[in-house]
Subunit: 404 residues, 2 copies
């Protein structure tokens, strides 16, 4: 696609402080990929790292890799901690407050089980439109607890009013996966703490997308995803944050040997490791975890405030360029125009969204359809330029014209 | 190491029906690797598969790989099922009775939670010397259940006597990770069923090591490991078996979106998928799962009865060659000589086992030390020859001589 990108957008790209980061990814040039919030692009360092882990670490050093180079913390045993340190910087947490491994779903179970065990209250407040696995994991945990909890829901636009003193734990996703609406995590967490409510934040669409400051907010627990804005690969290991103040108070329920204080002591009784390491469970999936470890290196020289500014510039540009289309077609912008309430995606409702997205993908504009009627476009400041936004809107325009 | 391998062992290797399988693995020739029961050797097909999954499936097709080639079930969504089908053949299960993903520890939690929810009894019988994570996961689950269960232990040599009508669930590992002793799974399961006891079998040292027939035994639940005899790579995804008769009776407690009947319906309430697919939880770690998928292809032309005969021939040979050493040194064979009671490893007690193993590894004889005093040697019929057994014993002899 060669398109006449407007001069103002070309200028924004020329001045982009992050423009060099695109070269660190394999960004297919036959499509406009606006789905990094489902699966981030491949960082170019990953294939070589995976080849090394496979051929040398597994193939040649075999079992010795679990402890080899332990003096420099380059052993597999320390791999989850190395990754946790890189994640913690992006979410405003201490390195010993983050455990990397398992899936977001399993980590949600761990966080909820821990939170629910340290309050006397029996109400979990969440959002009926939360990402389904959050709801399902809460439902499953409550089944295991004999249904002793009330799972109460409220619209995520009305959380503040629903923070009442009978609520024990909240489970909300900072950025809504459909609308891209970003919650006031700081304000909601502060209010929750005033009322003695424990917060569990799902950062699936936050980590790596903009600065997150869990400790600055006073958050209690958080979970997040390795394969969206962290670019760790399909189904990459997820992360769990538990504020240090809860480590000794909250029992570990998924107490596996990798979270034991000394796994190879082979003791008969579980004793938790120090810090968030205790929330590891089984043997980590080293191949997937190594890919995530390598992918996170892309962030090492990135100022997350600069990344946020670029993200807003990309989504602002998209919204502006889409305005004429929204006037002509049955498109309704559902992502807030207010910067404070916007994540790194832009979504529209369209009565025939599923077919529109199918046509867009066939044309090489890869976004997401989300039930029932959402067109979702994700923007990743590490590898998107304003020119991509322009190309996307040209494609959307052509598809919408063809729809009529 | 060039050694004069005795003619009888050379003959056994020449007649070995599985000798061609060794070429399908990277087997380091500078060591004798007797630790495939900790981490199996690298199947040669894996690096190319991983490169393809990374470069093409992730890098180029990106999010589309989740559904691409779905008509031929080659999409990522179907990957867990494809792997489950390959595992099921090795353990005597139906393909729809096996779910592949998560760790053995997490799967143990799923199996125990399910089993414990469908009995009125409140006693879990296990082995105090069971692999620690099995014990830890049972302890964690019981914490979550308010300590309402009694976790009763017995020596794994006395299980039959401890199967009493107050026991609700058993959790045993078929092959003891220290001694290599193999339980009578058939007889124990039959007796358990007579008494209305539900069985959870840990197949960590069974799957891929010899024929397993879960349905032939009438087993209820089982878990197992992808990185030992299945050669799936470090921390490879694990598997869970749930007998079909329990699918609708046992609630799913780790109810994540990947186990939902229709994940992309994004329904607010969990509805389990058909069969064991319901026991998937979060998004699978595709890189690690793809390595396991490829590794399992090695088994496609293997008759597990032939593999078992070779395993016994290898361990018989090892025990026989070690006899003179056991007479001269403080070595006590703890693996049963009776074939029916032996897995695919041989272990000795030695008062200075930790240092002996350290010296052995330095000399290139890679086995395992296990607390407090166990020297453990694992044999993998897919890539070991009797000549390896000979080389190993020569090395052990030299080290034990040097010890004195």
């Amino acid at each position: 696609m060669t398109l006449n990108v407007p001069a103002d957008l070309q200028l924004l790209d020329a001045q982009d402080a992050l423009r060099h980061k695109r070269d660190e990814f394999l960004v297919p040039d036959d499509i406009v990929y606006l789905d990094g919030n489902s699966l981030g692009c491949l960082p170019r360092g990953v294939p070589a790292r995976l080849a090394e882990v496979t051929q040398q670490e597994w193939g040649e050093h075999l079992i010795r890799s679990w402890t080899r180079n332990a003096e420099s913390a380059q052993d597999w045993m320390a791999l989850p901690d190395r990754v946790a340190a890189k994640v913690s910087r992006l979410i405003g947490a201490g390195a010993d407050e983050v455990a990397v491994g398992d899936s977001t779903s399993v980590n949600t179970f761990k966080a909820l089980a821990a939170a629910m065990s340290i309050t006397e209250r029996r109400v979990l407040l969440t959002d009926a439109d939360n990402f389904p696995t959050d709801l399902y994991m809460a439902q499953g945990l409550n089944r295991l607890l004999g249904g002793s909890w009330e799972i109460r829901t409220c619209p995520n636009t009305e959380i503040m009013e629903h923070l009442t003193p009978d609520v024990g734990v909240t489970l909300f996703t900072e950025v809504d996966y459909r609308t891209g609406r970003k919650l006031d995590m700081q304000g909601l967490t502060a209010r929750a703490r005033e009322l003695g409510i424990l917060t569990v934040w799902d950062l699936a669409h936050s980590a790596g997308a903009f600065p997150v400051d869990l400790n600055g907010c006073g958050a209690d627990f958080a979970v997040g995803c390795g394969y969206k804005y962290l670019n760790g690969g399909p189904g990459a290991p997820a992360f769990l944050f538990v504020a240090g103040r809860h480590h000794d108070a909250a029992p570990v329920f998924l107490s596996g040997w990798m979270g034991h204080a000394d796994p190879f002591e082979m003791a008969r009784t579980y004793s938790p490791a120090a810090g968030a390491r205790r929330y590891l469970v089984g043997t980590p999936q080293v191949l997937s975890l190594s890919a995530l470890d390598e992918a996170l290196n892309v962030f090492s020289d990135v100022d997350m405030n600069v990344l946020r500014q670029k993200s807003l510039s990309l989504t602002d540009t998209f919204i502006r360029l889409m305005e004429p289309l929204a006037e002509k077609h049955p498109l309704t912008l559902v992502t807030p125009e207010n910067h404070d309430e916007r994540g790194s995606q832009v979504s529209y409702r369209h009565p025939d969204a599923q077919n529109v997205m199918k046509s867009l993908i066939e044309r090489g504009i890869v976004g997401d359809f989300r039930t029932p009627d959402i067109l979702r476009f994700g923007f990743t400041p590490l590898y998107h330029a304003h020119a991509d936004v322009w190309r996307a809107v040209q494609g959307i325009q052509a598809v919408l014209k063809g729809q009529k």
